[in-house]
Amino acid sequence: MDLKAVNEILSHFPQGRGNLIGILHEVQNHFSYLPEAELRHISKKIDIPITQIYSVANFYNRFSLTPKGHNQICVCMGTACHVKGSEKIMNELQEKLQIQKGQTTHDLQFSLDEVRCIGACGLAPAVVINEDTHGLVKPKMVGKILSKYKP
């Protein structure tokens, strides 16, 4: 349990119960997920029942209770991307990474999710990795894109 990191995050916020979401964001960024022991520690520190924190963590898509990969791949499955063959991109990614959508690779390097329209329909089919948007992706480009993110 990495309590030092959690206490460091808690110190960024003023005392009180109103900062839960902000705290969870930082914990999510630091650990790439919300670990149970750390959530219980936060619950004691900011005096919010663990059930309430669990509710919030479950409610928002941004938060995950299982470890996410270092690089988060989001394949757009909106209408335009779908028409332009995002299914093929997804299949290629699943094959290359040897995981199904919604899962994370064993080395915690990549996690693969599908998202609804990201508003880049002109670039369909689009894939977002971390903060970068890759547009007009073709299945054979997938390997090259992934290699940029491999350690």
Binding site: E36, P49, I50, T51, Q52, Y54, S55, N58, F59
Partner: protein
């Protein structure tokens, strides 16, 4: 004295104290408004939507839920118009689609002539997500053992991390307030299990009654009662007597309590002056 407010519900002139809700005012006058999520002991949350009514007069003409709307001067409320009943039938159909086997929902739906639902999912779940259990656990018992998780169709009631709850005290208040029986308490011998949606969310060994030896309540529950009711100063004083014995032996337990209270007072009283 609280200020009184004049309003009209279903053509009847009503006086109600300011700050109460329209549903409370109607119930006080014997006007029936159907509801599943409202409970007199709990704060309203407006989840079942069955208590809708047409509002006009001092607020904009609209359909609102009466369990949350506060009474207002010159408010006009209609609870059984055709428009309301049409909406109510749809709400009942949706509830019935989710919980086709819950007798509370079936009975209420039948009252409004809804016997079939277009929204059956093939699954049956008695819970209608009214949140009474969450509210009683959070606001009244104060142990926060239950919560809502997920959202949309995946929304459900469970404990933190969906495991046996370490906060639950086994009081059974959640099962008690549940309108549809989706939460159950099962006592077998000296074991108590609480089922939330068929999932066991708490398991307890019941403490024995000091008089008859019958197992009757979990330890954590007695401890909380002790802390809340008898024991503001953290003294050790627990009456391990089941309700039946308590009624029979009330003189005896009165004596016991008097003795213990006297001890407590002697211990904590500070000489004045």
């Amino acid at each position: 004295m609280a200020k009184t407010v004049n309003l009209i519900i279903n053509g009847k002139k009503i006086k109600s104290s300011a700050g109460s809700t329209v549903l409370e005012a109607a119930q006080k006058e014997g006007i029936y408004i159907p509801t599943l999520c409202h409970h007199n002991a709990l704060d309203p949350e407006g989840t079942c939507r069955l208590c809708i009514a047409e509002f006009s007069g001092s607020i904009r003409n609209s359909i609102r839920i009466s369990c949350i709307q506060e009474v207002k001067e010159d408010l006009v409320v209609e609870t059984e118009t055709e428009r309301i009943n049409k909406s109510r039938r749809l709400i009942l159909e949706l509830l019935l689609g989710r919980a086709p086997e819950a007798s509370a929902v079936i009975d209420l739906a039948a009252k409004y002539g809804v016997t079939k639902s277009r929204f059956l999912t093939g699954e049956s779940n008695d819970c209608i997500l009214c949140g009474r259990c969450v509210r009683v656990c959070r606001d009244k018992i104060g142990v926060h053992a239950l919560c809502f998780v997920n959202r949309g169709p995946a929304r459900k009631i469970t404990t933190a991390f969906e495991r046996l709850s370490e906060y639950c005290i086994g009081c059974g208040a959640c099962a008690n307030v549940c309108p549809t029986g989706a939460i159950k308490v099962e006592d077998k011998g000296d074991q108590r299990k609480i089922f939330t949606w068929e999932q066991v969310t708490a398991r307890f060994t019941l403490e024995q009654c000091e008089h008859c030896g019958k197992p009757f309540a979990p330890k954590r529950y007695l401890e909380l009662i002790n802390k809340k009711a008898y024991n503001p100063k953290g003294l050790e004083f627990v009456d391990y007597i089941c309700p039946d014995c308590f009624k029979q032996h009330d003189r005896l337990s009165d004596k016991r309590r008097e003795g213990a209270l006297r001890k407590a007072v002697n211990k904590w009283s500070v000489p004045r002056g």
